[in-house]
Symmetry: C2
């Protein structure tokens, strides 16, 4: 048994080398645009224009949008102006704007030169909104209906203009540009008669987002309301575009990546990992590493202050990493739990007492279990089995008690800090592991030496 | 200026107390089902049946699905059998199955008793698939067309059955139950004539998922192909249901939560945070805390072994937390980056050399910057400013060198372990901060004491 998989790339490359274009055409015809794009990203860019020309028209458009910027750029360079014009004017406005944002200036110039005047205007419209705003992810193509139309009129409008619109399934009813309602195609099809007026059929209670709204907020609304598309309006409630659910899934993915990066003490970056240069990774990682390293001066100071005690009972040093580690892990658990609950909208500032009460009891349970396990581990594993003669019941008691209080402290801080950050309009994700760990490190030492002083000296 | 916001809950409660039902009805009529659900979750459950009865029918169904299980349960208990029957048979099958899974046995019995025989059969169908499988999130309601139908026939089928189907926008073409193609409603509406046969209009190249496929995989496919719905087939390619994009967004959210929980060293739980009991939180958190605490025995052993050296140069102890902390943070950055790249499908096993080369260079840059900063910090801040007289150029050199090597080690381990975990079919997310930190703690001590022995003694 071999687990070798024949990849379609290999087949395509061979067919290409043998110039079997009719076969190639048939092979590509069976594939979805996104799959073809994945193959194109892997191939030598030189062959892309040739392959692109044998793609069915629909697949070609889907494929182009899904390709990576590097491959897109090389493909564009290999296409004639006429071919480029056809592709560009076939794109949805939001996709075209995304591509323009990724390309170098010379390519952007060529793309905009080939775009129809209307297309060029709409691309520029979308490009003017700040990154991460609703405006920047919307498309300006949507089906607009008038309230006085009948269902028959509406279906004709859809038929006439629908091929160019990113989604036709929700149509928006406007009066002098102002959004006053919506009808779904389902409503149109299921209606008992074609003569009914849109005004009577439409839902007036329409939920929209402002063009400057944060995209994360937009994603929340899609999740809450289960929409396929959502209208975007300006400050006068005039409709300027729609956001579709496929773009929202990309936003959700980007926001998750960003959260995870921040939670691991990095500056967020939306670049694909394998395309990020070491120097870019360095820049996104070094700030927090430096800040956290310098703040560990506190822990050094504390150890320095208790130098004499440590010299007298060197065995105490051996358990510093265990205490700090367990404290850090306990605190991270609480902070990550609360950070996630905040970003899911499950908790708000008023829930703080409930959170502290819940985490406090959890911390007490965890602390008791860990302190008990710690006492047994020190006496049996470190003392008896590994023969560390510094360990006796008194030392084990000090470490275990320190463990109990460290865990309780760590979990309390872990749940409070993200809530405070949110209240102060900081990103709660900053309060994840690295930050909590640094604070807990210092506190756990204070607790440890405090208890040691009381019991041992 | 006051930032007090009048919440609609308060308004509704007041209107309710004053028994102003007609006004209440008007207020609720302006609201979306999901918004009403959010209000219902906050209100005293006693008033829910009363409020529910004044809701418009459509809003009532949407609202019921979006309510939290606790509120749903209490509402159901307050409804008559007739009212319950109406709601249950109005639900989509996948939503009904979700609700049944959350309810206690007595409530389930009542729900199933009120369901139509067909509904009951379909709920049971969905319930029999394992959790997290495509089958468990699908709905069995979809529009099935025959290839020999004309567009006119197809639209009639949609009109006749469409009101009950979760999405009508993609219709699936089956022959003896086997999926052979699909048509979108867009295709139907935009077609030049109503007499065209579905067979000629349909796309044959249809992408489907197996009923046992993992839901995470399904979400990946939605993101890749930008679908609104996806057909689910059995092993003989017979169509059994569809998955819609709104359910996929919930899956994405759940999977992100699960990843974050695992990355913070917790057992995943899909329970809402504020509804989790401390004992449940304890159970999900204690296993990793215990495992990681006990594995810190290695660090204790290492410190124990170098006890004599530490007693001679107590100043070295003061910088153990800084080294470990920075090492842990550096390692987490790499591991979280790689874990995320794995889950986005950006890297696979064959990329390991490229990843190590990228992380190696990044680590070298970070290590150099941190070592330099560390040397300056020790000499100026700890030595001169804070007057720690144990710190001299030799000690600062030892700590800085240890810093350089620790960072390089930490980042290498941080990027390799998630890849190895993935290769061995473990969840890479396990290899995040807590796990990496524990390994890096031990290694950084070995490096530290090794360098100290070479330079100081």
């Amino acid at each position: 048994m071999s687990d070798r998989v024949v990849r379609v790339e290999d087949t395509i490359e061979k067919l290409l080398a043998e110039k079997k274009y009719p076969v190639l055409k048939e092979v590509l015809r069976t594939m979805n645009g996104a799959d073809v794009a994945a193959v194109f990203n892997e191939l030598d860019p030189v062959v892309l224009p040739l392959l692109f020309r044998v793609l069915p028209k629909d697949t070609a458009a889907d494929c182009f949008v899904e390709m990576e910027p590097e491959a897109q750029e090389k493909l564009i360079k290999g296409l004639s102006d006429t071919e480029l014009r056809e592709i560009v004017n076939d794109l949805f406005v939001d996709d075209a704007a995304d591509i323009v944002e990724e390309m170098p200036a010379t390519v952007v110039k060529r793309i905009l030169a080939q775009a129809d005047p209307q297309m060029r205007k709409e691309i520029n419209e979308v490009l003017k909104y700040p990154e991460n705003s609703a405006g920047s992810i919307m498309t300006t193509e949507f089906v607009a209906l008038k309230p006085e139309m009948t269902i028959r009129d509406a279906l004709n409008v859809i038929r006439k203009t629908g091929v160019d619109k990113e989604t036709i399934y929700t149509c928006y009813v406007t009066e002098k540009g102002v959004l006053i309602g919506f009808v779904s195609v389902k409503d149109l099809i299921l209606a008992p008669s074609d003569d009914i007026q849109i005004r009577t059929l439409m839902t007036e209670n329409v939920i929209s987002v402002g063009v400057k709204e944060d995209q994360e907020q937009v994603a929340e609304m899609f999740k809450k309301y289960n929409f396929l598309a959502m209208p975007v309006v300006d400050s006068e409630n005039r409709m300027v575009g729609i956001i579709t659910v496929d773009d929202v899934m990309d936003v959700m993915e980007d926001e998750t990546t960003e959260d995870m990066q921040i939670m691991a003490g990095m500056m967020p970056s939306d670049k694909v990992y394998l395309r990020s240069k070491p120097v870019e990774l360095f820049k996104s990682r070094i700030p927090w590493l430096l800040i956290l390293m310098i703040s560990s001066t506190f822990t050094s100071l504390i150890i320095d202050k208790f130098e004499a005690a440590l010299a007298a009972q060197v065995v105490l040093t051996a358990f510093i990493p265990m205490l700090m580690g367990t404290g850090g892990n306990s605190g991270s658990q609480s902070s990550v739990t609360v950070i996630r609950a905040i970003s899911l909208g499950e908790v708000e500032w008023g829930d703080l007492p409930a959170i502290i009460w819940k985490e406090g009891r959890t911390a007490f349970l965890c602390g008791l279990a860990l302190a008990g396990a710690c006492f047994i581990k020190l006496m049996l594993l470190d003392g008896l089995l590994l023969g560390n003669d510094g360990v006796n019941a008194k030392v084990a008691l000090v470490v275990s008690l320190a463990m109990l209080f460290t865990v309780i402290l760590a979990k309390s801080i872990g749940c409070i800090l993200p809530m405070v950050a949110k209240k102060l309009n900081f990103d709660p994700a900053v309060m994840a592991s690295p930050f909590i760990t640094t604070i807990v490190d210092a506190l756990s030492l204070l607790v440890y030496f405090g208890i040691a002083s009381a019991i041992l000296f």
